[in-house]
Amino acid sequence: MTVLSAAIFLPLLAAAVLAVTPRVADRLVSWTWVAVCAVDLVLVAVMWAGHDGGVAYETRLTWMPSVGAGYHVGVDGLSLPLLALTAVLFLVCAVFSLGRTYRVRAFAALFLFLQTVCLGVFSALDLVLFFVFFDLSIVGMYFVIAGWGHGDNVRSALKFFLYTFVGSLALLLGFIALYLGAEPHTFDMVALTRDPPLADAPGPAALALLAVGIGLAVKTPVVPVHTWLPPAHTDAPAAGSAILAGILLKMGGYGLVRVAMPMLPQAWRAHAWLIVALGLVSVLYGSLVALAQENVKRLIAYTSVAHMGYIVLALGAAGTVAGDAAARRIAVTGAVTQMVSHGLITGALFLLAGVLYDRAQVYDMARYGGLARRAPVFAGLVIVAAFASLGLPGLSGFIAEFQILTGTIGGGTLWTAVAGALAVLGILITAGLFLRMLHRTLLGGPGPLTGRVTDVRAGELTAVAPLTALSLLIGIAPRPLLDMIEPASAAVVSLVSR
């Protein structure tokens, strides 16, 4: 039992204990939840501190030897930042939910279950294991939305479930193709990365990439398979939205760097132009549609589509071998940084939207206005999170997007440069839409519901402030994070160039 497996399964263990223990006081449940998350965060921090390059904390147990699938986990520079993000965000959600009274035990157990699942996805080194965790995340989130959501939540939850489930079926097909293409057949990701399957069969490799790509694109989500996202967010509870946007979406981008790029390098390179185009469309389309939204949560959801688009754009550009390798490394580093940064920022934004809903049960921007007077601390947090999201330097979003754009343009081929230059427009549109949101909710004169909004409570502040603080820390001193990511992105670039 390594520290990694302990970190993965500790939340599940706690969830099981909570589930079978009858009649516990809500307060005790909540604090247990917080404590477990805190311990988990410490475990991840220990792994971070002890990591010195390459795949570490590896565990390999036989599970289904007949199909070459095993319990194989480990972490490297791609997964550790996401594990840390997961631990932080789940802890923050636990703190944010401290005051809850509605079915707390089940809620806590479900989130702890989800935490294990998310940590599992980011440390799996076996495709079957990866898939199992990937799929269970959908199940867990379905119950979160259906059980604790609001509005038309049952329908939204069903849509979310069916849509992403279809996506993961495509992913499974792709994984099976990888399995069959490998000689000898295996689901082991390390082996598949070492000897890419289907290397001499471009047609089947393209089909495998298509299947894997569809599966991951739905999860990311990439335009045009993104429409499950806005209703799921709108009707999910605040903590659910934060986890959905902060962690679950990252599984898509993570799958691209972990599975698609290293295991299907030739197909990735051959279709890099298409991937770049999809990323660019997501960026521009997502930010434009977000600009037209009236509902705060839908607005944040569409900016997520745009922000994920940058990741896809950068990873596509990293597949153009004609480009400069240093620039492509910067693009991949930017993409991974964007996953972390977006998790922090959007997590904060969704929790803050939850505060708004908690007070007035409405997400419509037109009903608010002048909140900065009634709720100055709330307003301050929203402003910092919004500026982080629009990529203001000094906050993490800039570090991510600057690397993505510079790396994409700096690759030096004409069409990536053009795509990068067009994607730059996205940051202007994003700035416009966030300013519009700030002006309509926080600034100006009061709206009809302004009187109902009170400032953030201590628990809410304790939950959101660390997210903005981390964003600021990464924005000013990105080296600790980049030192972790850069060797891994260099490896990804060299793997995809094979």
Binding site: Y163, V289, L291, A372, R373, G411, G412, V424
Partner: protein, 602 residues
Amino acid sequence: MSVLGWALPFLPATAGGLLALCGRRADRAAPAVAVVVACVTLALAVVAAVTRPVVRAPFLEGLPVGMAIDGLSAVMVVTVAAVSLAVVVFAAGEMTAARFFGLLLVFVGAMLVTVTATDLVLLLMAWEVMGAMSYALIGFWWRDPDRVRSAGIAFLTTRAGDLGLYVAAGAALAGGGSLALAGLADAAGPWPHVVAAGVVAAALGKSAQLPFSFWLSRAMAGPSPVSALLHSATMVAAGAYLLLRVEPLTAATGWAAWLVAWTGAVTALALGAVAVAQHDLKQLLAASTCSQLGFMVLAAGAGAVAGGAAHLVAHAAVKSLLFLCAGAWLTSLGTQSLPGLHGAARRDRLVGAAFVAGALTLAGLPPLSLWITKDAVLTVAAEESAALYVVGLAGGVTAAAYAAKTLVVVLRPVGTERPGRPVSVWEKAPLPLLASAAAGFGVVVLWWDAWGRLTGDAGTRAPGPGGLAVSGALAAVTMYAAARLAHRVRRPAVLADWLLLERGVHRLVVSPVMGSARLLARFDDTVIDGTVRATASAGRRLAGITDHRVELPLDRIVRDVGRGVRGLAALARRPQTGQVHTYYAQAAVLLFALAVVVVLAG
């Protein structure tokens, strides 16, 4: 030494950040803290200008960031720190909010990084932070939706230009792998052209040159100290500074230098004309800022770095002085419209004298500073092209005209003294120093060679007596004529409305973008999500069809079969009556039938 390099920008930035974070709790202490921090910053700036610290730190992969102070940066940091101190002292007499002083200090810190950064990454970071702080300062009175809107327009307009820096950074990476400002011109292939285009776009946006000028009109929505800072040594000055800094790059591309020079010259003339047409003192000064910045941009395009830098410093002093005077009158008299300021200079003699000194300098009257620095720019521009010189000269004429227009108003004697709040001592304190700097900076011409070496433009031509005489005479004549005729000239609506730039941008850019955003949102709902919903309902309908057309008939067959079997079973049950005589009868019939079969078969 490296401590100094970091401390110079980070002292005001950190102090400002803390003040803003503390909010109202720090209101009482904020003005004093801000004044002290600004004093220390000025001291650090002077020491740094002498000792020239260089700092570097790893940042992104292969792209370290650094700050260094060369001659041009030394001039800039001292100017920025000095003007900031003046503005902070003035603001201490007018504002109390910790948030205000906090944002102001962060703004100053960002400007200090901008003028010392040695690479595009750090420059872009500070550049954009400065833009965000200007947003927060312009929209400082956030309860007023109009001011907030103005702040948003200012931020988005300058950020639209900033996009150029992102592209430039990518292109610089593609062209040589280094983002150092000094090496931008050496990039390989076609990339220097892309870099130049990006940098020029960003600089023109920041400096409110055509076609971006309108945001500066909007920037007037902020408190007066903000205008004084924004329009002099920071923000708009950053654009001019950047163009002066990357002059080798624009010169190397050829077309960029030409574009920059002409944009500057045309802005100097056109926005000068706009300034003449304004009825509001702050709007007039804002348009004048665009126009004066035009001379610096022209200098950068024509290669007159020394002249441009001198003009920047002198103009920083002049414009901060004038805005502070306007601010003092605004708080004291409650108005900034020119008709409302009749005789304003006669009320408080110190403020009045300072304003007159500033306005005369702005007019380009000999022997005051802008007369000399402007001519230093035009002298070099004349070598480039005569047309450029003439347009620049015409821009100078407009300066004399609008300066005369303000002087006529504020100096006109008034019969009755209107009531008004007296100007506080804090507000007055910086004015004499700024006024003397504004009027007297022209002495730099006496050491022009040294100034040229300091700003990295050694061997530059000093302004000649001929050019000086022409521009000085023109200024004097224009002032006289304008003072006599100003009230008779009709003001064209196009000029009064800032060349309709904002309306044009709204119609050509903002409306189409918003329209397409709404259209795409509807497309997203109806077509893309509609397809998903249609797929789902098609699935349900298919399920219904299989239910009705396949499942039901199939089920009916099964039911019919069952019913048939049941019928047969019922038939089969009938003989089983439980009565012995029927069984005998059946046995008899069966035996008979058996006998028949046997007989027939036999």
